[in-house]
Symmetry: C2
Subunit: 221 residues, 2 copies
């Protein structure tokens, strides 16, 4: 009996989706990719909420009625048994620290600024104000990466792990959200190092076998 | 050679700190507890930033110059080899999904509302506006827990895991942030179930051996 093909509910503009696409491609796992139009709220329909009650992509379908959400939990799942997940306890803990840090202190500041800009959100006075704080906190996050990467090639240990994948996703497009990366030369070198890896794919690439959303959801019922 | 005693940089009002205190107590690991006055910005001094460049508690000191930050990464570390971390791959992934969900979709809405209220932040027009969104998204998170817990005793599998610990921390004090839990009877039953566990400690308890901050930081240099 073979495992069913993995299916990734995804959105091309999403760095969180990109993390999963990138690693699935690297480790050579075949998968179906389902584009979900978040601008049209396709992730908030009753059919999609049955896949992820949190109404967000990415979601990795592992099998019938079996869905894994949260991009960094998906990364951890895919990385099992590969070199992208370290083999010693202390490094594993360090990778998890970076993954939680990414979701709490990096993504909400850096990704959201980009999201508002590239998805053409109206810049209400409230968003303008929030953006000032996000800018400040986003630079605080980038400065921490700069200090750390000034002394190392990769975030944890001697090779690329899912910590680098998680942080690469929104850092490499931070300028789309108005963050000038010239202030962070070690981060820039790390971005170049990351993208130079064999088999690297860009955030605009469309790996996997594309399946239309309606067709995919029709089989989840 | 014995391992050095664990030291938790902590703040009593913090649910993130409480997670770690709770689990350290449960598993019977002795530890030093260092109270950090976040209202006085004691987590943003140069000395503390050497412990955690992100300027936040909790931080678990594992040994000399060896610090683990991010409450949920700390939980995972402490839970190694205990029943609070599941023993099969699928449940481990589910626990991690809840941990990331907690930090992204639950804590920023529910904990921050409580933080502003209990730490007497000035309710500027911007905070008033932000609170409306946090209220809405916090109730969306609680409703997801309600649906899930209506069918189960624990978030993952058949016993309490670090997913329950992470979610208990801010859910059980959600009313301090203005969230009425009467709308979530299954969540309320789960809170009671959690608190009925042998050895349970309250968020106001002060376990561990207390060490003053200045004394603790003096040994980290």
């Amino acid at each position: 009996m073979t495992a069913p093909m993995l299916r990734l509910y995804d959105n091309l503009s999403s760095g969180n989706g990109y993390k999963c696409r990138w690693l699935l491609t690297q480790v050579g796992l075949p998968f179906e990719r389902v584009e979900v139009d978040i601008d049209k709220a396709e992730s908030r329909t009753p059919e999609f909420l049955a896949v992820n009650p949190n109404g967000r992509i990415p979601v990795l379908r592992l099998g019938p009625h079996d869905f894994l959400a949260e991009s960094n939990a998906i990364l951890r799942w895919i990385a099992e048994g590969t070199g992208f997940w370290p083999d010693n306890r202390r490094d594993k803990a360090a990778v998890l620290q970076w993954l939680f840090w990414e979701q709490y202190s990096h993504e909400p500041n850096i990704a959201t600024a980009r999201f508002w800009k590239t998805h053409r959100f109206e810049m209400t006075p409230e968003r303008v104000h929030a953006l000032v704080l996000k800018r400040e906190q986003g630079h605080f996050a980038l400065a921490q990466m700069e200090t750390h990467l000034a002394l190392r090639d990769w975030l944890v240990g001697e090779r690329c792990t899912i910590a680098d994948i998680a942080l690469y996703a929104y850092t490499h497009v931070a300028e789309e959200g108005g963050f000038d990366l010239d202030r962070y030369p070690a981060v820039r070198r790390w971005l170049d190092r990351f993208a130079a890896q064999p088999g690297h794919i860009a955030i605009t690439d469309r790996p996997g076998t594309e399946v239309p959303l309606a067709e995919a959801l029709a089989t989840e019922g």
